[in-house]
C-alpha cells in the first residue's frame, strides 16, 4: 500500500509544526514555542480553509504554551487569519504571564470555553446526508446507517459512523471518529477527519482505492494489497496507516 500525506502533512511533521487537536468546542491549535513568529504566521496562512470549516457553534483556540507573544504577532494573526479567513477564535491560551496580559489587554479570552453541562460532552453530530433515504439512528455519539449508501450520498459526523450495508463507489463518509462499514467498502471514507489519530476504519470487504485516516491518505488496489476484498481493520500506528486482514482463530484444535 502506498502512503501519501495530505495537504495537512506539514502540520504534523515531527518538530516545529502547528498541531490541530479536536476539542469539545472545536479545534485547538497547539503552537510550538520553537517556531519563529514569521514561521508561525506562514504556517497558519498555509492551513487549508476547509480545516476551519466547523459545525455551527464551534470555534478554534490557539495554545501558545510558554511563548512570549508580541503585539505584532497578535495583530498579524487578527488581520491575516481572523479577519481574512473569518475564523471564530474562542480562546487565546498561554502559560506565559506576559502573553496572557497582552491578550487580556486586547479583550481576548484567555480561557477555554466552559462545557455547558457536567455530563460528558456529546456534541450534536453534524448530519449531512444528501439525497438519501437511508434510515438513520443516533446511538450515543454513534451514527448508524441501516442501508447501503449510494453514489453521491455523503455523511459527515463528529463521532463514529456505522454503515450496516455497503458503501458504494461515489459515496463518502467523513467522521471525526472511527468508521465501520459492515458490507463492501467501495466509496471514500475519512476517519479522524478533525485530526484524531486514535481512530480506525473497519470494512467487511475492502475494495476501495483510497482511505483517509486523520491527515494520512492511503492508496490501495488489488495488486498492492493481499487484503483486497477481505475484511480489514485499518489503524494508524506511529502516524503510519496499517491495514490488517481479520483472521480469527476459532480455538478448535485439529
Amino acid at each position: 500500500m502506498n502512503i501519501l500525506n495530505n495537504p495537512l502533512r506539514k502540520l504534523r511533521r515531527p518538530g516545529a509544526q502547528i498541531k490541530p487537536e479536536r476539542t469539545y468546542y472545536g479545534l485547538k491549535f497547539i503552537v510550538p514555542e520553537t517556531l519563529t513568529e514569521d514561521e508561525l504566521l506562514k504556517q497558519l496562512a498555509g492551513i487549508p480553509p476547509n480545516v476551519y470549516k466547523l459545525p455551527e457553534g464551534e470555534g478554534v483556540s490557539f495554545d501558545f504554551g510558554g511563548r512570549e507573544c508580541s503585539r505584532r504577532l497578535i495583530l498579524h494573526m487578527i488581520n491575516s487569519i481572523v479577519w481574512e479567513k473569518g475564523i471564530k477564535i474562542l480562546a487565546w491560551l498561554s502559560v506565559n504571564p506576559e502573553s496572557i496580559k497582552l491578550f487580556a489587554a486586547a479583550g481576548l479570552s484567555v480561557t477555554e470555553p466552559e462545557q455547558e453541562s457536567e455530563s460528558p460532552h456529546t456534541p450534536e453530530p453534524e448530519q449531512v446526508m444528501t439525497e438519501s433515504v437511508a434510515e438513520r439512528r443516533h446511538i450515543a455519539g454513534l451514527k448508524v446507517v441501516y442501508t447501503s449508501m449510494r453514489s453521491g450520498q455523503s455523511i459527515e459526523a463528529d463521532g463514529d459512523v456505522l454503515v450496516w450495508g455497503h458503501l458504494n463507489p461515489g459515496a463518502e463518509i467523513k467522521a471525526g471518529g472511527s468508521i465501520l462499514v459492515a458490507g463492501r467498502l467501495l466509496g471514500v471514507v475519512q476517519a479522524g477527519a478533525y485530526g484524531r489519530e486514535d481512530v480506525f476504519v473497519w470494512a467487511g470487504s475492502f475494495e476501495t482505492p483510497q482511505v483517509r485516516l486523520a491527515n494520512k491518505l492511503c492508496y490501495a488496489d488489488q495488486k498492492s494489497t493481499t487484503c483486497w476484498r477481505k475484511g480489514v481493520l485499518i489503524t494508524l500506528e506511529e502516524s503510519t496507516p496499517v491495514i490488517r486482514e481479520y483472521k480469527f482463530l476459532s480455538g478448535d484444535k485439529k
Binding site: 439525497e131 433515504v133 449510494r150 453514489s151 453521491g152 450520498q153 455497503h166 461515489g170
Partner: protein, 271 residues
C-alpha cells in the same frame, strides 16, 4: 383509464435510454396497450428520430405547456402500431423552458387517455432529470455493463429513491456474453450486487439496434433480433407477466455459429 407513468433514466449518456423507451413503448402498444412516449430531453430531442416520426412533428410538449397548442395537436400517432403515440420535445429550447410542476401537470393531463406514459429522460442529474422524474411514479434505470455507467446509475437510483419513485427497476443494456465469459465485462450479478434493485431485463449487444435506429423503426415492431426479443420481454414484465430472462449465452453461441456458417457458405447476412 389512468396511465402508469414511467421514466426511463440512467445518469450517464449513451447507454440506451431513448432506444429503450422507443422499443418498450412499441412493444407495449403491440400488446394492445395505449402508450405515449414523451421525449423529455428538451433541446436534444431524438426519440422522434428513433421512432421514425420526425417528419410528422409539428408541435411539442413545450407548446402544450405554454398553451400554444392543445395536447391532442401535439401528439403524433404512429400509424404502424395502433395505440402508439409520441409527444416530442422542443429542439430549439433549453431544459429551463419547463419546470417540475409543469411536467407533473402534463403527465396528469396524459394519464386519463393512456395505459402507459413513458418519459425519456435526458442524461445528467440536473434540471432535465428532475423535470422528467417529477411526473413519473415508476422508473426504469438503464445501464451498460461498464463501471462509470453503473456508478451513475447508482447515483440516479439514490435520487429516485429520495424522490419516492417506486418500483425502480434495472435494464442492463448492451451486454456481451462473450466478454462476460472472458472476464472482460461486468456480469449481470456484479451489477446487481452494487445497485441492489430489481432487474427487469438484459438486452444483449446487437448491431440491429444501429440499423433500427438509423431506419427509424423500433426493433420490437419486427422482432428480428435478440435485442428486440429482450425489449419485448421487458414490456411483458412491465405488464406483470412472468417471463424468464433470455439465455444470452445461446445467443452468443448462435452468433458465432452463424458467422462460421456464413464464412463457409458465403451466405449473406439477413437484413
Amino acid at each position: 383509464m389512468s396511465a402508469r407513468v414511467i421514466v426511463t433514466t440512467s445518469g450517464k449518456g449513451g447507454v440506451g435510454k431513448t432506444t429503450s423507451t422507443a422499443n418498450i413503448a412499441a412493444a407495449l402498444a403491440k400488446f394492445g396497450k395505449k402508450v405515449v412516449a414523451v421525449d423529455a430531453d428538451v433541446g436534444l430531442r431524438n426519440l422522434d428520430v428513433i421512432m421514425g416520426l420526425e417528419n410528422r412533428v409539428v408541435y411539442n410538449f413545450i407548446d402544450v405547456i405554454e398553451k400554444t397548442c392543445t395536447l391532442k395537436q401535439a401528439l403524433v400517432k404512429d400509424k404502424r402500431v395502433p395505440g402508439l403515440y409520441l409527444l416530442p420535445a422542443a429542439q430549439t429550447r433549453t431544459k429551463d423552458a419547463v419546470n417540475p410542476e409543469q411536467m407533473v401537470a402534463l403527465c396528469e393531463e396524459l394519464k386519463p387517455d393512456f395505459d402507459f406514459v413513458l418519459l425519456d429522460c435526458p442524461a445528467g442529474i440536473e434540471g432535465g432529470f428532475k423535470n422528467a422524474a417529477a411526473g413519473a411514479d415508476e422508473a426504469l434505470v438503464v445501464t451498460t455493463p461498464e463501471i462509470p455507467a453503473v456508478r451513475d446509475a447508482d447515483r440516479i437510483i439514490g435520487m429516485l429513491e429520495s424522490m419516492g419513485k417506486s418500483p425502480i427497476r434495472l435494464i442492463i443494456n448492451r451486454l456481451r456474453p462473450n466478454m462476460v465469459q472472458d472476464g472482460d465485462m461486468l456480469a449481470k450479478d456484479d451489477i446487481l450486487d452494487v445497485l441492489s434493485i430489481d432487474l427487469i431485463g438484459v438486452v444483449p449487444e446487437d448491431e440491429s439496434v444501429i440499423r433500427a435506429t438509423n431506419n427509424g423503426e423500433p426493433m420490437t415492431m419486427t422482432l428480428d433480433s435478440p435485442a428486440a426479443h429482450a425489449y419485448l420481454n421487458i414490456a411483458e414484465r412491465l405488464l406483470g407477466r412472468e417471463v424468464p430472462l433470455m439465455d444470452l449465452e445461446s445467443y452468443a453461441t448462435r452468433g458465432l455459429l452463424t458467422k462460421l456458417k456464413q464464412f463457409f457458405t458465403g451466405g449473406k447476412r439477413r437484413r
